[in-house]
């Protein structure tokens, strides 16, 4: 097998890619399934399920805790995943990788710990990073998972939350960010790619501005990891997190990355087994990161699936797959814009910023009706507020329809989607 860094050059064909996902063969209501809800969760490929099976059947034991052979095997599989994730993200070391149950869990860990006394030299002494009177800047298009934990942090600490408004076309204006930084926020929270707008945000430029103003940057990578090349060091983020289930791995897996010195200062999140150094009645001392944040029995069957999942993610970025993905994106984009009364959210003039996540609404047609009819035609799309209620309010809608594509969705599937959409609109108007 080629090393994971080079998997991108591996010439996977569209046909080979589709064979990895048995669900692509499903029919619903007697029609072939066209699954266009990848932004909610990806399909599960054979190699991930096989990995889960292999670990469950042959390497099942609790991690780190025993000297026996199986415990070593299980621990090795788990730690291999950590090393793979670190290399995939361009992290400085595997010890910067914390496993969590998902993106939401990672955001909550961070938001909780940043509001508690920091650790210095192994002792819990220093002031919390976020305290009363501090300011947090949150981008307007955030998923509730990168918004509500920060609101809760503000409630607990008496910090203040300020919103960075999104522009009409779905982008963020750097001058506006500079303006907002004048209020000296200590944290800027933004998605690498919004799950609604589907645009790659200029995190590197934003992080440079933030750091100059003494503000740390939290990046929600739940969609970014799916569609963009991520190198956390080049990006300049301070914290980056994502869910495994959106990149083909087992549900219940997730990653929080932070620069080593930032993890070092974070106090523990949950107390329990493995996260401690010593436990005594008069008080306990904490393990080093990342174990400090991994209390209790970990997702020992799920986490190792990140290895085949990330490899596949890379393979799906090979030349043939990339060409297919671009052709599908451009076709859908053009066809949607040609529909009378359709409003596409996240429609940038710089085409390279758009990933194949298309959220839209159609004049005179309710999003729920549209999604329901599409479903009956075999096309699975999302409808509703997409866990981004403030953004819906800003745009002035009660919901939208979202079609999100994977690199292995074919042009034919895209055509079925567009045809079905026309038919559904015809029925509803």
């Amino acid at each position: 097998m080629v090393p994971i860094e080079q998997a991108k050059e591996y010439p996977m064909t569209l046909e080979q890619a589709r064979k990895r996902f048995p669900q692509l063969e499903e029919t619903v209501y007697g029609k072939p399934l066209v699954y266009l809800d990848h932004a909610a969760t990806s399909l599960r490929p054979l190699e991930v399920v096989r990995c889960w099976e292999e670990v469950s059947f042959r390497k099942n034991a609790n991690l780190h805790r025993a000297v026996h052979y199986m415990a070593q095997q299980a621990t090795a599989a788990f730690e291999e995943a950590r090393a793979t994730v670190a290399s995939f993200l361009g992290a400085a070391s595997p010890r910067e990788i914390v496993f969590t149950p998902g993106a939401t869990a990672a955001a909550n860990l961070l938001a909780t710990c940043l509001g508690q006394s920091r650790i210095e030299g192994g002792h819990r002494v220093a002031e919390p990073y976020i305290g009363a009177g501090d300011c947090l800047l949150v981008a307007e298009s955030e998923h509730h998972s990168n918004l509500v934990p920060w609101q809760m942090l503000c409630e607990r600490t008496g910090a203040r939350l300020v919103v960075l408004p999104v522009e009409e076309d779905g982008s963020y204006n750097l001058t506006r960010l500079e303006e907002a930084l004048k209020a000296a926020p200590k944290l800027f929270c933004i998605a690498h790619i919004s799950n609604v707008l589907g645009l790659i945000n200029p995190i590197a430029e934003m992080a440079a501005l933030c750091h100059r103003a003494g503000c740390r940057v939290v990046v929600d990578g739940a969609q970014g990891i799916v569609h963009a090349d991520v190198n956390v060091c080049e990006m300049g983020a301070d914290y980056y997190f994502f869910s495994g289930h959106k990149i083909y791995a087992a549900p219940g897996t997730g990653v929080l990355w932070a620069r080593a010195e930032l993890l070092d200062e974070l106090p523990p999140y949950m107390g329990g087994g493995e996260m401690i150094d010593h436990v005594r009645w008069e008080g306990s001392t904490w393990a080093e990161p990342p174990y400090r944040f991994e209390a209790g029995t970990q997702n020992l069957s799920g986490v190792p699936t990140l290895v085949p999942a990330l490899r596949l993610l890379q393979e799906l970025r090979g030349p043939e797959m990339l060409a297919n993905a671009l052709a599908v994106r451009d076709y859908v984009w053009e066809q949607l814009l040609a529909i009378q009364g359709l409003r596409l959210y996240g429609n940038p003039s710089d085409r390279s910023l758009k990933v194949p996540i298309f959220s839209f609404s159609i004049e005179g047609v309710h999003h729920e009706d549209l999604a329901l009819l599409l479903d009956k035609m075999g096309v699975a799309v999302r409808s509703g507020q997409m866990c981004a209620e403030p953004l819906m309010g800003r745009i002035g809608v009660t919901g939208m329809v979202r079609a999100s594509f994977a690199p292995f969705n074919t042009l034919q599937e895209a055509e079925t989607f567009i045809k079905s959409l026309h038919k559904a609109i015809g029925m509803l108007r």
């Binding site: 209501y29 047609v365 309710h366 729920e368 009706d369 329901l372 009819l373 479903d375 009956k376 035609m377 509703g384 009660t398 029925m427 509803l428």
Partner: protein, 138 residues
């Protein structure tokens, strides 16, 4: 006017004419489009049915011992569903409505063919119609 049993049987029969769920939806959409216009001033929170993903309003009037319903929704299929319900129950005595089991909804397979959130919405509509009837029972 048909009896309640006859009205329900007619709906069940109408639905059995369609093989495909898409055709059943087409029928619901037509029902929704044909629904009598609902006065804007009645679109108040008081008339809004809680628990539906799309907004649904229900207005009830008691005349000569019978309940008359009017309804609206911003989603047309939902509007078709509430239209189906009030088509069956409007103009009947409160006791009759309150004691009915609404099981014809199961007979046409409506619930299984809705998303879970819409199925909840359907339950909320039924609960509201029942509650309105109970409130008017003498």
């Amino acid at each position: 006017m048909d009896s309640l049993e006859e009205a329900k049987a007619a709906v069940v029969e109408q639905f059995s004419l369609f093989d495909e769920w898409l055709d059943k939806y087409e029928y619901l959409i037509e029902l929704g489009k044909d629904l009598e216009a609902f006065p804007v001033e009645h679109k108040t929170d008081e008339h809004l049915i809680e628990g539906c993903q799309s907004r649904v309003w229900l207005d009830t009037e008691l005349r000569d011992g019978r309940l008359y319903f009017r309804a609206d929704s911003d989603a047309i299929i939902t509007k078709g569903i509430i239209s189906l319900l009030i088509g069956v129950y409007s103009g009947r005595r409160p006791e009759e409505i309150a004691s009915d089991d609404f099981s014809f909804v199961e007979a046409i397979g409506l619930r299984e063919n809705l998303s879970p959130t819409r199925a909840n919405g359907l339950s909320s509509m039924i609960a509201r119609i029942r509650a309105e009837a109970k409130a008017q029972m003498s």
